[in-house]
């Protein structure tokens, strides 16, 4: 039984990670063969850093992910606070479900509808679609990131309740001050995790970007896809390896941090 459970866990881990390990391995391959490992080299990394196209796509992706994450976090936090304050139960439920739709909707539907919308807007404004490429991309990314922020902030606000805000008001805060000085610091973990989620969703998105994006604003997933039409070169393996390593490092950092925090707030859990 014990052996079985050990084999089982290795099997699962194997299925999860063997493809990734293969990818990493082949990013160090000397030749461009996908079947034979002919020798260790950093050749593809070198190649990757020489290609201006890849670099621009990477830059675009990061700018887009960061700005849409920040905008979605601001709007989403405000929305969560607004939903919390709503008195009408029916309206509250309605609004909550409506904000969840972009998350439930298949990406392909969201992507197509976004594309139609922006094409129409461009036509009405009489400008070429190319010119609103980044704006269109940003708006659509904010749209599909928003529910994740609300989903991560709203439970925090619900849990916090009114008592701290009331105490702040009582001690002389204006309602705005009470929000920024007391409420926001206490819901910060939810806000931050919402932001990280929005960032990764945007980073990861292909389908919606494929529909909305225009040729002058390429993101990394779009670039990789366009390359696969010809042939996947091992410099893409190198790029993927870098992304995996970055995510791995980020994951370790956040886990260590939150691990420390929960060890620290062991006492805090009891107070009420």
């Amino acid at each position: 039984m014990k052996y079985f459970s050990k084999i089982y866990i290795f099997l699962i881990l194997g299925i999860l990670y063997i493809p990734i390990v293969t990818l990493i391995l082949f990013s160090f391959n000397e030749s461009s063969s996908t079947a034979l490992f002919t020798g260790f080299s950093f050749k593809w990394y070198y190649e990757l850093f020489r290609s201006p196209e890849t670099f621009e796509a990477l830059r675009n992706t990061l700018i887009l992910a960061a700005s849409s994450a920040i905008i979605a976090t601001v709007i989403g936090t405000a929305a969560a606070e607004g939903i919390y304050k709503m008195r009408n139960k029916l309206a509250k439920t309605a609004i909550t479900s409506v904000t969840n739709i972009p998350m439930m909707n298949p990406d392909i539907v969201t992507g197509m509808s976004m594309m139609l919308f922006f094409v129409a807007v461009a036509a009405i404004l009489g400008i070429s679609y190319e010119n609103i490429g980044f704006t269109a991309m940003l708006i659509s990314h904010v749209t599909f990131c928003l529910p994740y922020v609300i989903l991560s902030v709203l439970p925090r606000i619900n849990e916090l309740g009114d008592s701290l805000s009331e105490a702040a008001l009582d001690l002389g805060c204006t309602p705005i001050q009470a929000f920024f000085k007391v409420k926001l610091p206490n819901i910060m973990p939810g806000v931050l995790s919402g932001m990280v989620m929005a960032f990764t969703m945007s980073l990861d998105d292909f389908v919606i970007s494929y529909f909305v994006g225009s040729s002058d604003f390429q993101t990394l997933p779009l670039l990789i896809y366009s390359m696969t039409k010809k042939q996947v070169k091992p410099d893409m393996y190198a790029l993927s390896t870098l992304i995996i390593v970055t995510i791995f490092v980020l994951l370790i950092i956040t886990n260590v941090k939150s691990g420390r925090k929960s060890a620290h707030s062991g006492m805090g859990g009891k107070k009420k």
Binding site: S163, L164, E166, A167, A168, L169, D170, L171, G172, C173, T174, P175, Q177, A178, K181, V182, P185, N186, S265, M267, G268, K271, K272
Partner: protein, 383 residues
């Protein structure tokens, strides 16, 4: 003493349920007032209206002569110590207490632009406050590491540092254990006397109310039942509810024969109250500790002891007199099933007019049930 806070015809309903029904009350400057009543009687709602967290449906609220019904909480010179303290977990003890000062901008003369309070002054005042609540040396502690009593003290210091004119306290000692609660009662009273501001204190604990307050306001079902000093409330309750809620009471039906003569339990007694109509039906209150246990032949009333419980200071004896169960507290031991006489001095008899609470309280025939009910009410969450 001037009227500092005045409530005129305040009413409030939640979801169609009337929680407060045209409350009229004034509170004087420097007074320690307790709003006392069972859970759900509306006392916390009253406090929240004074604090500015709820608005009344009807009626108006005055502070120092000016109407403040529409003034938001942060503009009132009233601070609150909340039931669950509501300390800010992201700030340490020092910053929690300094919080109100950091918001304030003051101008020395009216010409200068208002400035923030300088850091040295903040520090001086925070340390003073910490000293007052006996928490010196706790400045840099995180509030989540403090015990309930310590958190309570921080909450008090934080509420008092900006020198409010009124401090509202919403069952502040509810979460503390008995010993700590007694200590904090004395301390709160001492703090109130030393700084001389008005305290409005909400509790369901009658003993707490009697021992701390200058004035007790007894509330039930959204209405004020009685306002008075602790002695008045205890010795001269206005109706059966107050008599029963404050301390233990035997409440029996009686008839006033004339001034200072009342008939109950089939006997005529001398009493000290008057001003009732001849033959008027009344409620008669006799406190258990005011009844003397005597030989049956000397007793004004005679009955059989049905239960005797040792309480430490005294015995608690339930006596059946003509089917009505009296509670007697006596230091003399009485055997169960023994027939005893009761002797009641005229000034131990208190006469009340009939009210809607008549007949609902003051009979100890279902004593154990009543105790259960009371402890349930204590445990129930106040809304």
């Amino acid at each position: 003493m001037t009227k500092l806070i005045e409530l005129k015809g305040i009413s409030k309903s939640f979801d169609g349920e009337r929680v407060l029904d045209s409350i009229n009350l004034y509170i004087r400057d420097g007074e320690f007032v307790t709003l006392l009543g069972p859970s759900g009687c509306g006392k916390t709602t009253m406090l929240r209206i004074i604090g500015g967290f709820e608005t009344a449906d009807e009626g108006s609220l005055y502070f120092d002569g000016a109407e403040i019904s529409e003034v938001p909480a942060h503009k009132r010179h009233i601070n609150t110590v909340f039931q669950k303290y509501a300390l800010f977990p992201h700030l340490n003890v020092y910053e929690n207490i300094a919080f109100p000062l950091r918001l304030k901008k003051v101008s020395k003369d009216n010409i200068e632009r208002p400035k923030r309070i300088p850091e040295e002054e903040i520090k001086k005042r925070v340390l003073e406050m910490l000293d007052m609540v006996k928490l010196s040396g706790f400045e840099n502690k995180s509030v989540s590491t403090l015990s309930g009593g310590q958190q309570q003290r921080v909450a008090i210091a934080r509420a008092l540092i900006s020198h409010p004119k009124v401090l509202l306290l919403d069952e502040p000692l509810g979460a503390l254990d008995l010993k700590l609660r007694k200590d904090m009662q004395n301390e709160l009273k001492a703090i109130q006397q030393s700084i001389g501001i008005t305290f409005i204190y909400v509790t369901h604990d009658q003993e707490e109310a009697l021992s701390m307050s200058d004035t007790v306001v007894v509330i039930a079902e959204g209405e004020i039942q009685q306002i008075g000093t602790p002695t008045d409330i205890y010795n001269e309750p206005t109706n059966a509810f107050v008599a029963d809620f404050i301390g233990e009471s035997n409440i029996v039906d009686g008839v006033m024969l004339e001034d200072k003569k009342v008939k109950f339990s089939g006997k005529v007694f001398d009493c000290v109250d008057g001003g009732f109509g001849k033959g008027e039906a009344v409620d008669v209150v006799v406190r258990p500790e005011d009844v003397d246990v005597v030989e049956p032949e000397r007793g004004m009333l005679v009955g059989k002891a049905t239960s005797v419980t040792f309480k430490g200071v005294h015995y608690e004896i339930i006596v059946d007199i003509g089917g009505f169960k009296w509670m007697i507290q006596s230091t003399d031991y009485v055997a169960p099933e023994q027939t005893i006489g009761l002797y009641i001095e005229p000034d131990a008899i208190h006469i009340m007019k009939k009210s809607k609470y008549s007949g609902k309280f003051g009979d100890y025939s279902s004593f154990s049930d009543e105790m259960d009910k009371l402890s349930d009410a204590d445990a129930a969450e106040e809304f």
